[in-house]
Symmetry: C2
Subunit: 343 residues, 2 copies
């Protein structure tokens, strides 16, 4: 048993164990440590599974977004996008998803219907099928409306992409504006009035990745992540840790909508820590950055793609940002994102 596991044993779960930053990473390490060799995943977004001839990808996600139906989306759409995107970013073609639901007594069937319609529509857009399902119902107060789990598998037409394929000098591209999903959700939740102007970016991204694949060589994109819980900061810290290299980004390059920035300032949120549901971070060979950007720009979900930084040659886990004021500062890994239930 690792020291970290030992030290957690007598503690209690807190909200930040689920918010994508350090405490949740520690919880994941705890889980992996306890499971030992029963766990064979590699901390990629999807597990890559040898089966007879060929590999398949498999990934799982539970969804507890609050509220389950929000301005321009709902938990059903998020549940398909989240799992489809996790499969797509490892280079797989998402094929089959399972759908499991935990429903609280008293949930209006109309809400369930709306969620299922979103599941259907999003699955059609993403080109995936639901192949198995499960429903559990708990008493009033034993859950909060509706929780979903989707688990998906996909097949590979190319080599699986891994974090460790990233090289020094690779450019970091973000496929679209960051922070909008979080600001939208908080606005709906708290009745702040931004939700008409700042909408969630929730989208299945496999179509955009397919478009990219058709226009640039497979090797051009070394690795990808969808930017979800913990925001761009969490993704960068994850890669920095896996690569043992400092990543550097430029503040002025970050695609942040004006109204998102205003709302974030008001709410005391840094968009770099904010969850998204339809945004990719891509690590791209420097010489291919322009053609990758061009390919992304040709897809509706990638029109605002931009290079935000690069992988430096300096060893050590660190993420630094060149500020608009010309000063370099370190982006700390958050202890907890402090914004629960955004997905």
């Amino acid at each position: 048993m690792h020291a970290g596991t030992e030290s957690l044993l007598d503690q209690h779960i807190v909200l930040d164990h689920g918010t994508g930053a350090r405490l949740s990473r520690e919880l994941v390490e705890f889980v992996v440590d306890v499971l030992g060799d029963v766990y064979t995943g590699e901390m990629e977004d999807s597990a890559v599974l040898p089966i007879s001839v060929g590999n398949i990808a498999m990934t799982t996600d539970s969804f507890v977004v609050d509220p389950p139906v929000f301005g321009n989306g709902d938990i059903g759409k998020i549940a398909i996008c989240g799992t489809v995107n996790d499969l797509a970013v490892v280079g797989a073609q998402p094929l089959y998803l399972t759908l499991a639901m935990i429903l609280e007594t008293g949930l209006p069937i109309g809400v369930l219907h709306r969620v299922l319609v979103s599941v259907r529509e999003t699955a059609i857009e993403a080109g995936v099928k639901i192949v198995a399902g499960d429903t559990k119902v708990v008493g009033a107060g034993e859950a909060d409306g509706i929780f979903l789990n989707t688990t998906g598998i996909g097949v590979f037409h190319e080599k699986p992409k891994r974090m460790t394929d990233v090289r020094v000098g690779d450019r970091i591209i973000v496929s679209g504006p960051i922070g909008n999903h979080t600001i939208h959700l908080l606005s709906v939740r708290e009745g702040l009035g931004f939700e008409q102007r700042v909408v969630s970016d929730c989208a299945p991204l496999n179509g955009m990745i397919d478009a990219l694949r058709s226009k640039v060589p497979a090797e051009a994109v070394r690795s990808m992540r969808d930017v979800t819980r913990g925001g761009l900061s969490a993704v960068l810290h994850e890669y920095s840790s896996a690569l043992d290299r400092t990543l550097r980004i430029e503040e002025s390059a970050l695609p942040i909508d004006h109204e998102t920035r205003m709302a974030a300032d008001m709410l005391g949120i840094d968009p770099i820590n904010a969850a998204n549901e339809g945004c990719l971070a891509l690590f791209v060979a420097a010489e291919d950055a322009d053609s990758v950007l061009e390919a992304l720009h040709s897809h509706p979900y990638g029109t605002r793609a931009v290079v935000v930084g690069e992988v430096t040659d300096r060893p050590g886990k660190a993420v630094e940002m060149l500020g608009a004021d010309g000063r370099l500062r370190e982006i700390e890994e958050l202890q907890g994102a402090e914004l629960p239930r955004l997905c």
Copy 2:
């Protein structure tokens, strides 16, 4: 939209939508209707998926058992057994499972640890690996301690088994005593004092199915189900409906432990409706029934296997039971099992 879907639209979720009987079947039909051709499962326990060469099986289950830790097991053990068994009964070798957790703020990490240890131990017994995971945390009162989802895939070394492979005259075999899991859980929950003498049957059954496969021809067992929510009654109704044949069982043949029967009487529960977590119903060619029984008896989980009935040639969906008093009575499909959160 089917009439049943339409009629549910304005209603609310009730507990019985999750308890494995008629109302939950209607809810599943609702889901399938709304999903339309996005859903490609066939209402078998696992989806059978064509992938490149060969098929894989895939199934999902969420677990909300209350309490999460009980006398001789916990939600972790149930979560592995449930999914392993769903894969095994369609004739697949379970290989890879995902594990997703929804945790309530305040859950003692010690409880999570115990659950994960059970996951590990049970996965080792079943010969499966966890290949991906997910953790969500919700606030106090937004869930009840710990909910799990496991989704699994398996591969086939023989033709997938389907309900529709069952033939008139096939014998119905039950692999072990029924009702124990339910009585054990209720006793723990309500402090009734049976829980030392009546323990849960929770077990991964793929080892027993492998033993069976090694001793009888694959065709001998036409179809199998693990007897979970809704009990043996739900399984029989499911087959009767799929086959359009009356199934007949004999009351005196049902394997029910003495103390389970006493407790069930006291609690007003019919063991035939009670959930199990380590019990198979097998539909077996009449001429192979003896050799199947013999093979089951050679495995620790099958020592009490017994023929309980057969598939008659009478068309129509009905399950009838020849009572100990020599009278034939119909076993009604329950409206709701009325015992939530047994798995």
